[in-house]
Symmetry: C2
Subunit: 423 residues, 2 copies
């Protein structure tokens, strides 16, 4: 029987049992962390060989003989472009290989839109009054933080099983002050949803009122399958080409969850015109990014297949962690009014607890020593209107800690639901 069907007495028993268990946990002064999508230590160890992939000056020349230890080459090594091109199916000359952070490249892309405009002759966003960005919700808090930082108005767009609600997107972009949308098209953060071919096609076909509207296509989990099932994502550039809309696409990716987070390599890709325009502005910003680190990646992985092979090892390490979470949810939560995602890749599980209890679960878990990402943080305003969503990040803790943390979380979900029904 679901909690909603139980009588008061049964609910009181559930509440008291859960409370008792949590009291025991609290007394243990645990410190467990399910907050951020960070790889675990064993995943980082996979890439150890990259540290010494360049070990002498002789190793530091690129395929054209350029000494990567010295200044130069704004848009990245040719072989690094090719590596990403092979991996992602984007033409190499569309790619700018940057520094260590795709988030930084996204922020910089928005800053350029703010200060210079989307193309030569276009008015910078900062001189256009209110700027609005569409935020598929729940979504990635750091995307929303960029919009917030630039003072943008954020419009939530509901996520469906196959991607954002495209009717709502089409309606919203009729407003010429709507300038962009944040997308994680594959294994979305936090739901793990991959946009269907239809949704990708609808993005490509979009006809926004603003001619400087941009789709931020953050393919952060492009090769981050958890299981043997490969999950294809339709090629947004190919789809956009059919409509002559390639200028609308800003594509981002990185090796943060392939090699080392914080010491990986990120890319920006767009239409030829956008890439040329971006490079012109970037030439005032920097002489070039860290080419040695780009070369380390090329030498260590060798090829896109080298990356794919490493991703299988990553998956083998984190699959058991997802299993711990999902097994516990399946065992403990079916009657509580909670539902959850069972993603085929990416870094997160979305847990939708009984509406009106997410903040309470967050609070209870914190007291019991399990740190969760704050309830509401996947929403642009930081407020989940249903107070139901929690983002669970299973990858960083080791398996032992996870086996302690997740049952605690489940007790919190039960207690909060019982409390809620008891009123």
């Amino acid at each position: 029987m679901t909690y909603a069907e139980l009588d008061r007495k049964a609910l009181l028993r559930i509440r008291d049992e859960a409370q008792q268990k949590l009291n025991t946990y609290e007394a243990q002064h645990l410190s467990l962390d399910l907050t951020r999508g960070k790889p675990g230590r064993s995943q980082l160890d996979l890439t150890e060989g990259m540290l010494t992939a360049l070990s002498s000056g002789r190793d530091c020349k690129d395929e054209d003989g350029l000494d990567c230890r010295n200044y130069g080459l704004l848009d990245g090594l040719p072989e690094a472009k090719r590596l990403f091109s092979d991996l992602l199916g984007i033409p190499a000359d569309r790619i700018i290989v940057g520094g260590n952070s795709s988030l930084n490249m996204m922020y910089d892309a928005v800053a350029r839109l703010m200060l210079y405009g989307a193309a030569p002759g276009k008015t910078p966003y900062c001189r256009q009054g209110t700027v609005k960005f569409l935020c598929p919700t729940p979504g990635y808090d750091r995307h929303f933080a960029i919009s917030r930082s630039f003072g943008m108005e954020m419009i939530p767009i509901e996520m469906r099983e196959d991607g954002p609600d495209m009717d709502a997107v089409r309606e919203a972009v009729k407003d010429p002050s709507v300038k962009g949308i944040w997308c994680v098209p594959k294994f979305s953060n936090p739901d793990g949803i991959t946009y269907s071919d239809k949704v990708v096609g609808e993005f490509a076909a979009l006809e926004p009122a603003a001619d400087d509207f941009r789709i931020f296509w953050d393919n952060a989990y492009a090769v981050h399958e958890l299981y043997d099932t490969e999950v294809p994502l339709r090629d947004i550039f190919a789809a956009a080409k059919e409509y002559g809309h390639e200028d609308m696409i800003y594509y981002f990716a990185s090796t943060s969850k392939i090699s080392f987070p914080g010491s990986g390599v990120a890319i920006f890709a767009s239409s030829d015109a956008n890439v040329a325009y971006t490079k012109k502005i970037m030439s005032a910003q920097t002489i070039g990014f860290d080419k040695l680190n780009q070369l380390r990646h090329v030498r260590y992985f060798g090829s896109a297949d080298g990356i794919r092979a490493q991703m299988k090892q990553h998956a083998a390490l984190i699959r058991p962690k997802f299993k711990v979470v999902l097994d516990a949810f399946r065992r403990e939560l079916p009657d509580t009014g909670a539902r959850w995602t069972e993603p085929l890749g990416g870094y997160f599980v979305s847990l939708y607890v009984m509406p009106g209890t997410a903040r309470r679960v967050y609070e209870l878990a914190g007291k019991a020593g399990v740190k969760l990402t704050a309830a509401g943080s996947a929403f642009p305003s930081g407020i989940d209107p249903r107070d139901s969503h929690l983002r669970i990040a299973p990858t960083y803790p080791d398996l032992g800690d996870l086996r302690i943390a997740v049952p605690i979380l489940c007790e919190c979900v039960k207690l909060a639901a019982a409390e809620k029904l008891l009123g």
Copy 2:
């Protein structure tokens, strides 16, 4: 006798001799490059050991046990801050350790001023109409390129032997639309001038009309002495403290010409208030910079003294190159109406040829196979009003090439001067 004192016949002989020599060079189809301030290969080899300074996962923890391979720590490793603090005499908590490029940190600092303003509550530059920056001239072309990129009006300030003309600076900052100044206070690019204690004090005491005026203090050559003579630079923060003006100082430095250009580590330092404000904005831009590369620098150099020792090796490698240039100038150019700087450090020699001939020298040298930085490029507009200045960068070519290139340059200077006097 100087050329100006010679009769027409003597000038014709000089012209013809120089032309003849240049014809010979031209026939050799040389390709020599004196354009940019890049270290030579032997300098890069000095830092070879850094490539393997981190060789296993165990090496990758910072002093607090943080795994530098993973996400986190926005403002840099504590030991990296301390390394720069010891080297530059700046309090460690004033320092943000960033990515691979101080130029990028400067650009980002200007972008923040444009978009967010200089402090909480201050109006962003982009909403203040015309913004003007002071450009000590001749100066660093990439500084000016940042101002140009943001559409600023650039006001040239003449460089004196002890730094910028501070009377002109004080006069200029009475205009509230004057928002900043570009400074390379030690071994300035391109003159190699180090600001005197008096000039540094006058900067610290500056009372601009704009309360969001910022001094961009690009200490790019902080430890880049060419000879055993140490050239002290007065501590700008200590001086500014006397006037309560620490908020006015934006300090930058990097290891680009210490370790690897393009794969070094850069810093930004400012007042406590500015650092806190900057970190808040930066937290929307990135999760953090490349901590592994910061750690590589700390491990490889060990201490500020380790850096100083390496700088002596750099100096030993580039001193002979400066000698080739200066010996040739002293031997060939005294009568031509040219003068030049003989810097005690840094990466450049300023060659001031007979007024009205710099562009001609550039052109002649190009024809003879010696690429120079374009005449005028050290001036904000790209135009040197006297058409006299050429920036000579001796470090990148090897000694053999330099011994061919510099005499060619000298012939070009002679020919252009003779042509000019002949009318």
